[in-house]
Symmetry: C2
Subunit: 195 residues, 2 copies
């Protein structure tokens, strides 16, 4: 089994979309309907959705689902875990033979949405893992989002596009150094606490 396709490795995300609304079923189904998931392997049950494939498509799909749900104006949250290099994660290799163009970008680039997000990086199998985390937290400060530290996580505030770009860059730079990396995230938009 070969987890590599060119220079890419198979990655994935286990996530859940949470619309805080009586219309949660419609919002979830509409968001899923508006997002092109043809470039990722996908499985959904009552607890979460798992997608797997190239990193660029994993981030493209999660961002697009969140944005299509958030544009309803309802209080929307999403949480999940990105993963790359998990030993044994290889049976969706067919989804690695795809291009590098984020297929949903053209449909979501006009959606402007502020959000708050907390994320944590977990480089696994390395005794010097804290250095990788600290370096990364420092790197985040150079991006187009407001960065603050909190217990067990780093907080990002700004536009959803910039937040996902920072998440992608953080994850990408750590996975270049560490084989198996997971990254948890929890993002929230239209919270009444901010009105």
């Amino acid at each position: 089994m070969n987890n590599y396709c060119g220079t890419s490795r198979i990655s994935g995300c286990q996530f859940t979309l949470y619309p805080m609304s009586d219309k949660f079923v419609d919002i979830i189904l509409s968001a899923l309907n508006e997002v092109d998931t043809s470039k990722v392997w996908k499985q959904t049950d009552d607890v979460s959705t798992c997608i797997r494939g190239k990193m660029v498509h994993i981030f493209d799909v999660t961002k697009a689902i969140f944005l299509h749900a958030a544009k309803t104006g309802e209080h929307i949250a999403m949480s999940g875990t990105f993963s790359i290099g998990c030993p044994g994660d290889s049976d969706a290799d067919v989804y690695m033979d795809k291009t590098d163009t984020p297929i949903n970008e053209s449909n979501v680039k006009e959606i402007n949405q502020e959000a708050g997000c907390k994320f944590s990086l977990y480089p696994l199998g390395r005794e010097d893992y804290m250095n990788a985390i600290y370096e990364q937290i420092d790197l985040s400060k150079h991006r187009n989002v407001q960065v603050s530290s909190t217990h067990y996580a780093t907080r990002l505030d700004g536009d959803v596009h910039d937040i996902f770009q920072a998440l992608y860059q953080s994850f990408d730079s750590v996975q270049e150094q560490v084989s198996h990396v997971t990254m948890t995230f929890s993002i929230s938009a239209n919270s009444p606490s901010n009105r």
Copy 2:
């Protein structure tokens, strides 16, 4: 600084409660109001709540908040990350001087609630981390819940009390062997997918 109090270490959980309902503010506030959080350090913002203290109280409080919200009958989810042994996590030591009695248990023990939960264990700083994970997944099979494997996570189905007991035991047995451990979880009750 001393992270130890007797044999206990400070632990914590960063979590969010998600009521899929127009009444989400009331449900969150009511649940928080019904739960005694006096034995933990607590901080809430628009993205998540962080609690820290003895492991027994961290699990007691998260379970109680979930149960009080779920008993409304609405579709309720909670996700978060338990953490123990994070280097530098020490400034809530005052919350370690408490008893070991789970203070909310008497108020929630009569609440029977089925749920589905996915969790993942991340033992950090160890090259043999996958062994700790595999051993743990195997241990789970002996508990009073239905255990199944899924991508990046282990799924537990059953009563919420049994699910949290399995989460606690999994987390506890790994943290006895590994200094810094995190455990992500995502739990869902009253999902219309199950009706």
